[in-house]
């Protein structure tokens, strides 16, 4: 009961956020946080629960973004149709990627997906007739000038994602996923069709990331292959969002996204640190892996203990 109440309060606070008059820049950062937490949740489903670490989530994000962009530039309808269409396109892509990459295990799967993301970027750069190549796609008429409606749309999408993933993880699928992560051979010998369930996790994860990509096209109004298929800015930041927040936790990706997006903005806006943002990200990643391997949420008891001890000694 108490938990439900706090959830409702949180929802009301989130819904009221645009009313307190944040600047356009702050709203932009909040929207980015929600986009990244959505991709993070999607990654967490595949990587955290099912144990298939993907380095290629930019592939789904980029294809989702380009679905919206191409629908707009070639068919001439509004790019919002990209949201439903990207689900179809990205699910099909996930099936193909799954067919190829899910033969691989562990780190090999990771690198296989990394290669997929890179290849889709190169393809998007070279298929100039279809994607516009490096010139990218520009959405000329923006639906809204302000950010409030964009905020509500992505918030709804993210809440939907959260509920969907919670539902999936608490169903028997979730148990299958975790058993595959813990020991794939044991899962298989218990009669779980591991390939099917891994494919299900991949398709769900891909489709959610694709929707986020399609939203990104509508929101930013401009995409090019180097942005939406970026290995560092999408694939690796997604992994960091989940690693920092907490692998295989419900709220981890959101907390990770808040930390990572604000940290990135802080570092980039500082002229003397701006160039070094990847170094700092890399060091943060190394630090997290060595000292907090399960992220802030996953290792919260450990953190609490450290700070309590710190307080006693001081």
């Amino acid at each position: 009961m108490k938990k439900g109440l706090s959830l409702i309060i949180l929802l009301i606070l989130l819904a009221a956020l645009p009313l307190i008059g944040l600047s356009s820049y702050m709203m932009h950062i909040v929207v980015l946080v929600i986009i990244y937490s959505m991709i993070g949740m999607a990654w967490n489903l595949l990587g955290g629960y099912c144990g298939q670490v993907s380095f290629g989530h930019a592939a789904y994000f980029g294809v989702g973004a380009y679905t919206a962009g191409i629908i707009y530039s070639k068919l001439g309808v509004t790019a919002w149709w990209g949201l439903p269409f990207s689900v179809v396109v990205v699910t099909a892509l996930s099936l193909i990627i799954g067919f190829i990459c899910l033969r691989l295990r562990g780190p090999y799967f990771a690198l296989g997906t990394l290669a997929m993301g890179e290849v889709l970027r190169v393809t998007a750069e070279n298929l100039v007739k279809f994607t516009g190549g490096d010139v990218g796609i520009m959405i000329r008429e923006r639906t809204w000038v302000g950010k409030t409606w964009y905020y509500y749309i992505i918030l709804l999408l993210a809440i939907g994602t959260y509920l969907l993933i919670k539902k999936v993880i608490e169903s028997k699928f979730g148990y299958y996923f975790v058993s595959i992560r813990e020991d794939q051979d044991a899962a298989e010998s218990m009669g779980i069709d591991t390939t099917t369930y891994k494919t299900v996790a991949l398709c769900l994860s891909g489709a959610i990331t694709g929707i986020a990509g399609a939203f990104y096209t509508n929101y930013m109004g401009y995409i090019d292959p180097k942005i939406v298929f970026s290995l560092h800015d999408i694939s690796i930041v997604t992994i960091m969002v989940v690693m920092v927040g907490g692998v295989a936790t419900y709220s981890g990706p959101t907390i990770g996204a808040i930390i990572m997006v604000f940290l990135a903005e802080l570092i980039r806006s500082n002229p003397s640190l701006g160039a070094a943002h990847q170094t700092l990200f890399g060091i943060l990643l190394i630090f997290i892996i060595i000292f907090l391997p399960n992220g802030i949420v996953g290792d919260f008891p450990k953190l609490a203990k450290i700070f309590k001890i710190g307080r006693v000694s001081s």
Binding site: G47, G48, G51, V53, F55, I100, C101, R103, L104, G106, P107, Y108, A110, L111, G112, L114, A115, M116, E118, V119, V122, T123, E125, N126, R181, L231, H232, I236, I239, M243, V247, A248, A275, A276, H277, Q278, T279, F281, G282, I283, L285, I286, I289, I290, P293, N294, G298
Partner: protein
């Protein structure tokens, strides 16, 4: 027709030369993968570091990139040992949900290396203008009335020959010395090696160092024929990985064959489809290897042996 054949043969030669260098990168990764069971995603970035060492030796002290192999390879060996001892080994002991933490860790190392190179050396494209870079051998020099004309760049052939020499040296090291045999034993079966008295922990450190030294040597060999920029690492990491999959995981012989196949395939796509598509060609070969030959070339070699 003659021009067609000429173009084809020229592409083939370029592919083989490129393949020899690729093999060296691939062997480094496959060694690390065989012994440590992790993928070193900072492989290309380590190569970039070696290339910068060779570049600065060339532009400040006028040392030929081929001679700086002798500096860069040991430097990378010690860098690799340091990374393994202070970063990767501690993570192997940490309890976590995801076993892929070490792989993600190497991504972090790669990011730091690439970004530091950008900060310190700027993201300009650089190259070493060696005197022999423009020289070449021509078929007509040796055979007066050859029906077709083929050329062989001096720098490319030198790089290729040194790469082959290093590969042969490595083969002697792995098959003839105690340390080499221990490394192979560790790769084959960790527990059995431990029972036989192999110091597995030291072998891991040494292997990581050797893998880094190999890719460092490859970097020096690439410098006279390629250009250098801080973000070049990523693409070579991918190349190394494709070679490892193609050759068969952890197989040194497979990596050599895989490297040559990839080199030929890449120079063919570059000639007949255009430079921009070379990464896609690389990937097609990767997918084909996964779908049709999951064990890599090594499994072919093995089944041939068993068949006899």
């Amino acid at each position: 027709m003659a021009i067609q054949i000429e173009l084809f043969l020229q592409t083939l030669i370029a592919g083989i030369l490129l393949g020899g260098l690729y093999a060296l990168i691939g062997i480094g990764m496959t060694l690390i993968m065989g012994v440590m069971k992790i993928i070193n995603l900072a492989h290309g970035e380590l190569m970039m570091v070696a290339m910068y060492i060779a570049f600065w030796l060339f532009s400040l002290l006028h040392i030929d990139p081929y001679i700086s192999v002798l500096v860069a390879a040991p430097a990378l060996f010690f860098l690799g040992i340091a990374l393994q001892k202070f970063l990767i080994n501690p993570v192997l002991r940490v309890e976590s949900i995801l076993p892929e933490n070490q792989v993600i860790l190497t991504v972090g190392i790669g990011m730091v290396l690439a970004n530091l190179a950008t900060i310190f050396f700027s993201s300009n494209y650089r190259s070493t203008p060696v005197a022999y870079a423009t020289q070449a051998f021509y078929l007509t020099d040796f055979w007066k009335d050859a029906p077709i004309e083929l050329s062989l760049s001096m720098a490319w052939s030198l790089s290729f020959l040194i790469a082959v020499a290093i590969t042969i040296l490595l083969w002697f090291f792995l098959t003839r010395t105690d340390t080499g045999k221990s490394i192979r034993a560790t790769a084959q079966d960790l527990d059995a090696a431990l029972l036989m008295g192999v110091n597995v922990r030291r072998m891991r450190v040494v292997t990581f160092g050797i893998g880094c030294a190999l890719v460092g040597a490859a970097g020096c060999l690439f410098l006279p024929i390629y250009y250098l920029f801080p973000a070049l690492g990523g693409q070579f990491t991918l190349i190394a990985f494709v070679i490892t999959i193609l050759g068969g995981l952890g197989s040194t012989n497979g990596a050599i064959i895989g490297g040559v196949i990839l080199g030929i395939f890449e120079s063919m796509t570059a000639t007949y489809l255009g430079m921009g598509w070379a990464p896609v060609g690389r990937f097609l070969i990767f997918v084909a290897a996964l779908v049709f030959l999951p064990g890599g070339v090594a499994s072919l070699l093995q089944s041939r042996k068993l068949g006899k």
